[in-house]
């Protein structure tokens, strides 16, 4: 290529890169060098990464350059990985001090898959400690800044992964979504984020927050790249029993549209930012060209948030029990075993993590489990049924991704206010449904707005089509 200006390289999509690689206009080394210098330039402001694999990626780029296996789906694609996903021989911190010094001994299944697909892992990105949060402010290490406005949060918990892609420090990235942790930061950073159907992507190697809700999801600057990454990481994994019996992405059903788009009255009754509401109405108009909008009721929507927190925190209280400082991570020395465990967890878990462990422990305790945890399981079933009923007559559900624009650091001190950020992303998580956050434009203040489309179980291929339609209309 004549003009190898790094900004040019950073703007290419995966398919564009592929053509350039094939024609010999670009090498993997050119691309990785461009991204490394973008990281060098932007990181002091953005802080998306916890660790950049600087030396290793150059070697990997050179290896791939010689290998020329151009048909690999992610050949020479620079990707960032959320730091709660294990990458062998590297530190995995989950942004927690309790894991300081812990080096992964194995690759998560998604990491294995993207490596086999030819991707180059640039490094590990910042997150809210153990993925608990909606602003990445709960990281024990650093604050990640929103590339659109450095006074604002990037969202969370996959704030680092969304900011890295948004700031062109990576072409695509992986996040994890328990109640909105991929979609909400994607929306805040003006990029695409997908939460797949629960079980489409293996969780093996993802540090568990809430096992029945966690899903790894892709983030990208354009729709095709994001779905391509999803297709690479999808598929049954015998190491994750909860992964669905779908061999790979190609095996997903490719159903015809019914032609209905569900609009939910309970969603519209929520008071949200005016500019988001405006965009939401605009998208409705776009959809009207191809769909019949069907107003639906979601009677138990109000229970989604508390239901989610009880289940997620209950599971978290158990999932995080393994962090006792005995086999890995940091340990406080003490005179007895019990004391060592107690002191280590007290010293090295952050405040929000402790709050959730306490809440979850409480919700599972004798005398309370029926009232809270078991009740929440019942509520989850009701919510599942209500959404599945809606989706039996409509192809998709439309919703804002977030009720508000990206907020400023320190603005959401009340945890309940922070939890409220996920009000629209939680229902599909509870119901195991796939949903995509699409960047639909900017507010007057220049902050990104995202709109969410929720599909039925395993309707990812259909979701891609409708997102494409919306994206094209928006660009037109």
């Amino acid at each position: 290529m004549k003009n190898k200006g790094s900004l040019g390289i950073l703007n290419f999509s995966i398919s564009e890169l592929k053509t350039l690689y094939k024609n010999g206009d670009l090498t993997t080394l050119d691309v990785i060098s461009a991204y490394l210098s973008a990281i060098k330039e932007n990181e002091p402001r953005i802080n998306a990464f916890i660790e950049v694999f600087e030396e290793e990626v150059l070697k990997e780029a050179e290896r791939l350059m010689k290998l020329k296996s151009l048909n690999l789906p992610l050949y020479g694609v620079p990707i960032a990985i959320k730091d709660n996903i294990n990458v062998a021989c590297h530190y995995t911190t989950a942004s927690s001090r309790i894991l300081e010094g812990y080096k992964s001994t194995y690759d998560a299944m998604v990491v294995k898959k993207i490596k086999e697909a030819g991707a180059i892992i640039l490094g590990k990105t910042n997150l809210d400690e153990f993925a608990m949060g909606s602003s990445t402010e709960n990281s024990a290490f650093k604050l990640t800044r929103n590339p659109y406005n450095e006074e604002c949060v990037p969202g969370g918990s996959s704030g680092g992964s969304a900011a890295a892609v948004s700031a062109k420090e990576a072409l695509i990235s992986l996040g994890s979504d328990t109640g909105g942790s991929v979609r909400q930061p994607a929306s805040f950073c003006g990029v695409y984020g997908i939460r797949p159907t629960y079980g489409l992507v293996s969780r093996y190697g993802l540090i568990a927050f809430a096992s029945s809700l966690d899903q790894i999801g892709p983030i990208g600057r354009n729709l095709d790249d994001t779905f391509l990454l999803l297709s690479v990481i999808s598929g049954k994994d015998t190491l994750d029993c909860t992964s669905l019996d779908i061999k790979n992405y190609d095996e997903l059903p490719d159903e015809d549209m019914v032609g209905n788009f569900a609009i939910i009255r309970e969603f519209e009754n929520i008071s949200i930012d005016k500019e988001i509401a405006h965009k939401y109405e605009e998208i409705k108009k776009i959809l009207l060209k191809s769909f019949k909008l069907k107003e639906e009721r979601f009677p138990h929507f109000n229970y989604a948030l508390p239901t989610y927190h009880i289940i997620a925190d209950s599971e978290a209280s158990s999932n995080l029990s393994r962090f006792d400082g005995i086999r890995y991570g940091k340990r406080e020395e003490a005179s007895s075993l019990e004391e060592a465990i107690k002191l280590s967890r007290t010293a090295y878990f952050g405040k929000e993590v402790k709050r959730r462990i306490l809440l979850g422990t409480f919700a599972l305790s004798q005398g309370y489990i029926d009232k809270y945890y078991k009740k929440a399981l019942q509520a989850r079933n009701i919510i599942r049924n209500e959404l599945s009923l809606i989706l039996s007559e409509s192809d998709f559900i439309l919703a804002p991704t977030t009720p508000s624009l990206p907020f400023k650091f320190g603005e959401r001190k009340d945890p309940l206010e922070m939890y409220y950020s996920d009000i629209f992303t939680i229902p599909s998580a509870l119901a195991d449904l796939p949903s995509v956050s699409i960047p639909v434009g900017l507010s007057k203040s220049g902050l990104p707005i995202g709109i969410q489309i929720i599909g039925g179980q395993l309707s990812e291929k259909k979701l891609y089509k409708v997102c494409k339609l919306v994206a094209e209309e928006l660009n037109a």
């Binding site: 194995y106 029993c241 599972l364 305790s365």
Partner: protein
């Protein structure tokens, strides 16, 4: 003394190739921390997958003790902090166990079995110079937990139940059942029944590691609880541990016993769903169980109750008997030799019959040599002991150790003559008509020949020589 009401809770290690939720080996006795991986160490991000072999073994045990197999069951997490539990929870079963409502007959009494479920074992801790060392080899080994109803009424009955269960897991091939290796562990619950049939306060004794410990702990508790009641003192609902040296029970620290385990369904695993076909398939493939082997031995081989009971004490012993009985039809003789000499040698070497090189073929060859009178029973014992050490054929051993019988008439005659000459007093007693002293002469001759004299020939010559001089 008030009557005891006893229930047992057993943990049985399954003989699967790999652990309950990962691919690590379950081999006993390997160097510490050699059978470990990310999964059984609870490393961040790892997930469990159910070992099908363990599930099948659980079903086998359920069927063997007349339980109903639940077509849907699931795993739970039992949460507590302890260094032997790397995930901070144990994956076990709770509300929907694999198997329920069975029974086992012990001395013609039905002991009901409440439930049988699957779970994972914890790591082993070693306390050394104020340090704690952890061996994770045991961590994740499949266990079945079996809980009885409180139907047992004496320490002896508890022991009998345990022995029967050990035989069953041995016959099923699902566990070694070795208490000394921790493959079978027992907790007991015991209370006393008052005159009106009401139950007293229940006491639990944990970690009993031998049949003897179970019996001694129960005996001690029965006496202790009766004494407390007779002094009008209350029995505390405690969890105790057993001091094997002093043979007494000691209360555990309440810290170790007061726990809210916060059981909830394991979200990393799916429901365990088992079809009728799968259950039937396992039922059809169940090996012979001790009870039916017992009846078969009495029916087909006309063995005594006692012999049958001895032979079913282990599956290997029964196999050895069956193979021997196929090629030699003096069943009683086979049973006698197994329960006396073979057991004696096995106890001495602390081995199982499988671990010795003795083959049923060589064993039977030896029995035939005795039958034919080619060796005496005494020599037979020597030969057997040698066979169990070396695996050699009986003839080989006889030759090597000079145990071949003396059947030379001249040699035997001269020995007989010498004995008669040296014992005139006994000879005259015999000749006066007290013929039951004949054994003395035989004994002397055997002593002289180190038991190698052909007994039939010797007897013939001895009788002839003793009687002929009277006439002559």
């Amino acid at each position: 003394m008030l009557k005891a009401v006893i229930g047992l809770e057993l943990h049985i290690q399954l003989l699967t190739k790999s652990k309950m939720f990962c691919g690590c080996s379950t081999n006993y006795g390997d160097p510490p921390n050699s059978n470990i991986c990310e999964i059984c160490l609870g490393y961040p991000g790892t997930l469990p997958t159910v070992n099908k072999e363990a599930l099948d073994m659980g079903i086998m045990l359920g069927l063997a003790v007349n339980c109903k197999i639940n077509k849907l069951s699931n795993f739970y997490r039992k949460n507590y902090f302890y260094p032997d539990l790397p995930k901070g929870y144990q994956i076990t079963q709770f509300d929907y166990p694999l198997s329920e409502n069975g029974f086992l007959e012990v001395n013609d009494k039905k002991i009901r079995i409440r439930r049988i479920h699957l779970e994972e074992d914890a790591a082993k801790l070693f306390h050394k110079d104020r340090k704690v060392l952890i061996d994770f080899n045991r961590c994740g080994i499949p266990l079945v937990e079996l809980v009885t109803e409180p139907d047992i009424s004496s320490p002896e009955e508890a022991e009998e139940f345990l022995k029967k269960l050990k035989e069953i897991v041995d016959f099923l091939g699902i566990s070694t059942g070795k208490m000394e290796e921790g493959a079978l562990r027992c907790d007991v619950n015991i209370s006393l029944m008052n005159e009106n049939g009401g139950l007293g306060t229940k006491v639990e004794v944990k970690n009993l590691n031998s049949f003897k410990a179970v019996v001694k702990a129960l005996e001690y508790e029965i006496v202790r609880q009766n004494e407390l009641l007779s002094k009008n003192k209350a029995i505390l609902a405690e969890t105790m541990t057993f001091d094997e040296e002093k043979e007494i029970t000691i209360p555990m620290r309440s810290k170790e016993t007061l726990n809210d385990y916060r059981y909830f369904p394991e979200p990393d695993l799916l429901l365990l769903s088992i079809t009728d076909e799968e259950i039937e398939k396992i039922r059809l493939n169940l090996p012979e169980l001790p009870q039916s082997a017992h009846s078969r031995l009495i029916r087909d081989y006309e063995l005594s109750e006692k012999d049958a009971k001895t032979l079913i004490s282990s599956k290997d012993i029964l196999n050895f008997f069956d193979k021997s009985a196929k090629i030699y039809n003096n069943y009683k003789e086979i049973a006698n030799w197994i329960s006396s000499e073979i057991f004696k040698n096995l106890n001495k070497s602390k081995k199982s019959i499988k671990e010795t090189p003795l083959s049923p073929e060589n064993f039977v060859k030896m029995l035939i040599l005795i039958e034919k009178g080619e060796i005496s029973g005494k020599i037979g014992k020597t030969v057997l002991e040698e066979m169990m050490l070396t695996g050699e054929e009986p003839e080989e051993i006889m030759e090597k150790r000079g145990l071949i019988q003396i059947s030379d008439i001249n040699a035997l005659t001269s020995i007989v003559e010498e004995i008669i000459a040296n014992n005139p007093k006994e000879v005259s007693i015999y000749r006066s008509g007290k013929k039951n002293i004949f054994g003395f002469f035989m004994g002397e001759a055997m002593k002289k020949t180190n038991g190698k004299a052909n007994p039939n020939l010797l007897k013939e010559i001895m009788l002839k020589k003793l009687d002929e001089n009277v006439n002559g």
